[in-house]
């Protein structure tokens, strides 16, 4: 599957889950601030991606899980450098470079772009192909 094909399928999932128009779903669009996603929508997106691509998404594999209350990850409302390194390592589909400049937890939504979801799916499909061969 090409990246464009993956993008189209991811876009269809986001249109369905978030009730937005196709035109609004650009690669740079942020799920929360641009497309209005809330926490339950992340679960819905996860379920729909599973159905579309035929894989299972484990908790914490696509979106960060249980980070907010963990003092190793967040201090004084800011993600720690340990937290940033861990997130970068565990969630390589996201680009945390801009977020690092101002790592206030309230800004974490800046990282969840449509492109990063496409990255996740692409990696997941590649791993599946590699495992199968």
């Amino acid at each position: 599957m090409t990246r464009d094909e993956i993008f189209e399928k991811v876009r269809a999932v986001l249109v369905d889950a978030l009730g937005v128009d196709e035109e609004e779903v650009t690669p740079d669009a942020k799920l929360t601030s641009d497309l209005g996603a809330e926490s339950i929508d992340f679960l819905d997106i996860s379920f729909k991606l599973e159905q579309t691509f035929g894989f299972k998404i484990a908790q914490g594999e696509m979106f960060p899980e249980n980070v907010a209350k963990d003092p190793r990850y967040v201090q004084d409302g800011k993600v720690t450098s340990f937290g940033l390194d861990e997130l970068t390592r565990k969630l390589p589909h996201f680009d945390f470079s801009e977020f690092r400049q101002d790592p206030r937890l309230t800004r974490i939504g800046q990282v969840f772009t449509v492109d990063s979801i496409v990255n996740y799916v692409q990696r997941k499909l590649q791993t599946a192909t590699a495992a199968a061969s």
């Binding site: 889950a17 679960l43 379920f47 249980n66």
Partner: protein
């Protein structure tokens, strides 16, 4: 049990499907004040059941199905209405059937798919022949069920998702009313049912 919007569970496959019926009675108070107003038509203004309460009936049906799957250990709350379409008005004397199915279930929550049907019974005493239209299907109660709507929902397991927020220890979601409904429908509560863990089915 004022807020029970389903009367009886008529089919129950744990972890998979639940069908419940609701009889709409003229004695229900909301009908006394809920009449559509459309001056452009010459139709008389008749009481109809609000769509929001039909939605609640589906939420209770689907929510019960999801809750039972974890033996009512999880606080199952409605979190999202993914899709809600109703094509017919529902008036007094109607029998609504909710058919809810679990699409996906995991520790954080579930998504469900649901059909809303109107049951018509043959009061003349004759049995029904072949369904009159492709939208009619046989249903477990003698009669015919016509699908009049589709409601897809998402539920959240509250304790798993609101990190840091404190909720009461006991499960406030599934109270006495739900237990009465289950028992009156002939369904064992999960803890009473020795076969529960065998039949409950796996998540996903």
């Amino acid at each position: 049990m004022r807020w029970m919007w389903i009367d009886r569970i008529v089919e129950f496959v744990p972890g998979k499907r639940l069908r419940a019926v609701k009889h709409v009675s003229l004695a229900e108070e909301y009908l006394h004040d809920h009449f559509p107003a459309d001056p452009s038509t010459a139709l008389p203004s008749l009481p109809v059941m609000p769509g929001s309460l039909i939605l609640e009936g589906m939420a209770q049906s689907a929510g019960l199905l999801v809750g039972y799957a974890s033996a009512f250990r999880e606080k199952v709350v409605l979190a999202k209405v993914s899709r809600a379409e109703l094509h017919r008005d529902v008036g007094p004397g109607s029998i609504i059937m909710y058919c809810a199915e679990i699409e996906r279930l995991d520790s954080t929550g579930a998504s469900t798919r649901g059909d809303v049907s109107l049951i018509s019974l043959d009061w003349s005493g004759h049995s029904f022949g072949a369904p009159a239209s492709e939208r009619q299907t046989e249903c477990p109660i003698a009669g015919a069920a016509e699908v009049i709507g589709r409601i897809d929902l998402m539920f959240s397991h509250l304790d798993r998702n609101m990190s840091g927020q404190e909720f009461p220890e006991h499960n406030f979601v599934f109270g006495a009313a739900f237990r009465t409904l289950l028992t009156a429908s002939g369904i064992a509560l999960p803890h009473d049912d020795p076969d529960f863990s065998r039949r409950a089915g796996k998540a996903g």
